[in-house]
Amino acid sequence: MLSWDFLALQPALPEVFLALSTMVLLMLGVFRGDGHTRIISWFAVLVLGLTLLLVLDDLGGTKRAFGDIFIVDAFAQFMKVLVLIGSSFAVVMSLGYIEREKIARFEYPILFLFATLGMMMMISANDLISLYLGLELQSLSLYVIAAFRRDSTRSTEAGLKYFVLGALSSGMLLYGASMVYGFAGTTGFDRLAAVLDAGAVPVGLIVGLVFVIAGLAFKVAAVPFHMWTPDVYEGAPTPVTAFFAVAPKVAAMALFVRVMIDPFGALIGQWQQIIVFISIASMVLAAFAAINQTNIKRLMAYSSIGHVGYMLIGLAAGTQEGISGLIIYLTIYVFMTVGTFACILCMRSHGRMLEGIDDLAGLGKTNPPMAAVLTAFMFSLTGIPPVAGFFGKFFIFRAAINAEMYTLAVIGVLSSVVAAFYYMRIVKIMYFDEPAERFDRPIGREMTLILVGTGLFIVFFFPFIAPLLEGADAAASSLFVG
């Protein structure tokens, strides 16, 4: 079987480019030292941008590489674009922060790049082995970044917690994968799908599948595997939290979707109910648990758990529409989350970072533009039209209704009303309460750029839905063709 086609690396060109450039930057960092972190960060953004251009290169249909363990299709391309955008935002957001907090070491952007590389490998994984390799490359980089502020107990605690629980979940995933391999006799997604389509499914394989789902649910932080999220989000440096909330979420979600739809698509009757349960549990628990939070990063952690619940509705539907809705939701989620975290990063008073929700009091008076932007994000996270978040919900629930999952849809919309309460609480604190502390200004040019960019995207999204829909539909259909 082995031929020289094995080395046809063209589909993996973006990954190869990213890996090589990251190593070059690493060398640069090693020889130039920490003083050049800013330059290296900008180079990192440049590398991410160039990778994005390479990803966008039309390959003409689905392509495989490395003996079919690596796949590039429209879905992978779309998700990689999202990951790259999220990572670039996170690197840019970090620029000022790491200098102010005196953690500007050159490894910082490099680790972001390695994590991104891992995510891209995850998205393109077409084999349980390549899935695991990508996942670990990503996770190991993230563990280190979470603990990047070495002299802060909270940060190291977050890193350690993330590491221990992440390792546990990887273990479960690996265990599940080994059972799947044991009972199906293959690790390749294409051949797994063929085996399962052929009929007879051994019980052991189902057990393996459940473990795989548990591992993946850990990575996307869905209830009941969410416990690490609030602590890690709260403890990690804020731009790192922003990164966690965006890029790995996209990658893990993409992986989740591919694993469920591609190799295990034939077993939908087996996994659908699990996903429905996870989805309902995530939506409901997040909605209620977030109400009493006082730390905005913790609140955003619960918010992200809730949003994962909504996305999983799309997966639970198991239809092309569902996946397309999930992709749209994910895209909008990336922008509103990046924007919200950019606002959180601007919560600084006398050079000190603030994280309490009450610190936002009276922002509508002390800093009207930022309050307006954050309000737009809050309405978007709630899902009130005409801001973008609504359309994410619209297409997700459309899939649920079309798949006749009415109970799921009703629970979903009702929990979104509960969630509205805690998002609106932030708006209330900003506008209805008396001003507390003034935040430091100016917030810096790159932050302004991010806020304006994401804000415009969220507010003026509705006239321009059609192109995004086309992209999402194409991406979703590429999963269902093969």
Binding site: G364, K365, P368, F379, I384, P385, P386, F390, K393, F394, F397, R398, I401, N402, Y406, A409, V410, V413, L414, S416, V417, A420, F421, M424, V427, K428, Y431, F432, F462, P463, I465, A466, L469, E470, D473
Partner: protein, 506 residues
């Protein structure tokens, strides 16, 4: 006149938004910003009103079709479009919204001194949402505007409201949102069934019966909260009491009509079978609303609360009228909505006048005002009598037609509703007596002043309209007539087909 060279409806909808955008750009000294924001809002809303008058002037009263239709691609692959148009049912709501916004701006001229810029932006955005909602002929577009109203209204109540504003704003927001999300699911189910969100197409579609019942209940969840119908009305007294005057005006005059408009535009034409099926429910709730909330209104000491409860009672007449399915009933309901829009807006403005002077809404705080404020007493009397439904005022036309319609369908309902008219007279007259009459004015009110020019400018057009509709309602009824006939024909035809094919149900 559907082939107008200009997209009139789009202009009317988005002009306020453009105005809001330009206010956003105003920079400089706080005093100057406030003044410019006020003038910009006033002019924008006045021009919008003129545009809507142009629409009315060119409105063809002989057809039930949608006019000034605009259609553009929005999400072509999904059969969802940007689709606008007005007919006899919606045109007056558009006018009501554009008419009241400039009045709100004027009435807030001096009262609002805090964050004027944001205030004016909120009102203009609100106007865009309201007008857009009444013009939308695509269900998704409708929903976007329908729920979009929540954003500015939440902020208006919460920022510029009274002491318990936070509680009221949240109650308003969460109540309405709960109803709306169920409407969203209904919208999605309809979309799944028909494959488009084009309202005229949906009106032609015949939905299976069981589905109709479920859809109707989901619609009901949203519209009943908006109207509001008893027992879903509890958000309204709080929201009205705590909102700033202009906020109460818009809330009572336009936002409450969104629910009733929803019944007329969606529930009845799309779900005729379910509408007939649930008519007893609507009648029961409406009658309870009329009698119960009238009694509650009698017991109020807060003027705004009293008017808020009277709104619930008046909207009870509207829902009865709509579900009579005859010409008098539905036309009466529409006129009643217009009348209530003007009268309740005016009454809230009247309370605002008193509140600005005395900072109290308690009835017991006042007494004998007629001695110091004769002009105001006359103005208030006009609106009070219109609220009661005195012949010659707009309230009479609406209530009378509604009751005539109801009498043809169900005499008991008509009888009970009529007792509501008596109770209405009781609480309104009693309110008037306590606030305005006494042998001499109470001592702490000695220095109160009568209406100034700005306030007269606000009230004059409202008084004129009340009398116009009351004395010569023909121009309004004519414009409505063709569309109402169309609606009823369609309703009866749809239910006739079904009775022919299946077991009948009244």
């Amino acid at each position: 006149m559907s082939d107008w060279p200009l997209p009139l409806l789009s202009l009317t909808i988005f002009l306020p938004l453009v105005g809001a955008g330009s206010i956003l750009m105003i920079r400089g000294d706080a005093e100057i910003v406030a003044r410019n924001a006020r003038y910009a809002a006033l002019w924008t809303s006045l021009i919008t009103f003129l545009l809507s008058l142009v629409i009315w002037a060119n409105f063809d009263t002989s057809t039930a079709d949608f006019q000034f239709v605009e259609k553009a691609n929005w999400i072509p692959a999904y059969n969802i479009s940007y689709y606008l148009g007005v007919d006899g049912i919606s045109i007056f709501f558009v006018l009501l919204a554009t008419f009241l916004t400039p009045l709100c701006v004027i009435s807030s001229w001096k009262v609002i001194q805090d964050r004027v810029k944001e205030y004016m932006i909120a009102f203009l955005v609100l106007e865009t949402m309201m007008v857009g909602m009444f013009c939308a002929l695509d269900f998704l577009l409708f929903y976007v505007f329908f729920e979009g109203v929540l954003i500015p209204m939440f902020l208006i109540i919460g920022i510029w409201g009274g002491a318990r504003r936070v509680y009221s704003a949240f109650k308003f927001f969460l109540y309405t949102l709960t109803g709306s999300v169920l409407l969203l699911l209904a919208l999605l189910a309809i979309y799944a069934e028909v494959g488009t969100t084009d309202v005229p197409v949906l009106m032609e579609h015949v939905f299976p019966r069981t589905m109709q019942l479920w859809l109707w209940l989901a619609f009901f969840a949203s519209f009943a909260v908006k109207v509001p119908m008893w027992p879903f009305h509890t958000w309204l007294p709080d929201a009205h009491t705590e909102a700033p005057t202009a906020g109460s005006v818009i809330l009572a005059a336009v936002l409450l009509k969104m629910g009733a408009y929803g019944y007329l535009r969606f529930s009845i034409p799309m779900l005729p079978y379910a509408s007939a099926y649930f008519t007893p429910l609507i009648f029961t709730l409406s009658v309870i609303a009329i009698i119960y909330t009238s009694l509650v209104a009698l017991a109020q000491d807060d003027m705004k609360k009293l008017i808020a409860y009277s709104s619930v009672a008046h909207m009870g007449f509207v829902t009865i009228g709509i579900f009579t399915f005859n010409v008098q009933g539905i036309e009466g309901a529409i006129i009643q909505m217009l009348s209530h829009g003007i009268v309740s807006a005016a009454l809230f403005l009247c309370v605002g006048v008193l509140y600005d002077r005395e900072h109290s809404r308690d009835i017991s705080h006042y007494g004998g005002l007629v001695h110091r404020m004769p002009n105001f007493a006359v103005v208030f009397a006009v609106f009070m009598l219109a609220a009661i439904g005195l012949p010659g005022t707009s309230g009479f036309v609406g209530e009378f037609l509604t009751l005539v319609g109801a009498y043809q369908v169900n005499t008991v309902v008509a009888l009970l509703a009529t007792t509501g008219v008596i109770l209405g007279a009781a609480y309104m007259l009693w309110l008037y007596r306590r606030v305005f009459y006494a042998r001499r004015i109470r001592d702490h009110l000695k220095d109160i002043v009568d209406l100034d020019k700005r306030e007269i400018a606000v009230f004059a057009p409202l008084v004129a309209l009340v009398l116009w509709i009351g004395i010569y309602p023909a121009p309004f009824l004519d414009a409505i007539h063709a569309s109402v006939i169309g609606l009823i024909d369609q309703y009866e035809a749809a239910n006739a087909i079904k009775t022919a094919t299946g077991p009948a149900r009244p």
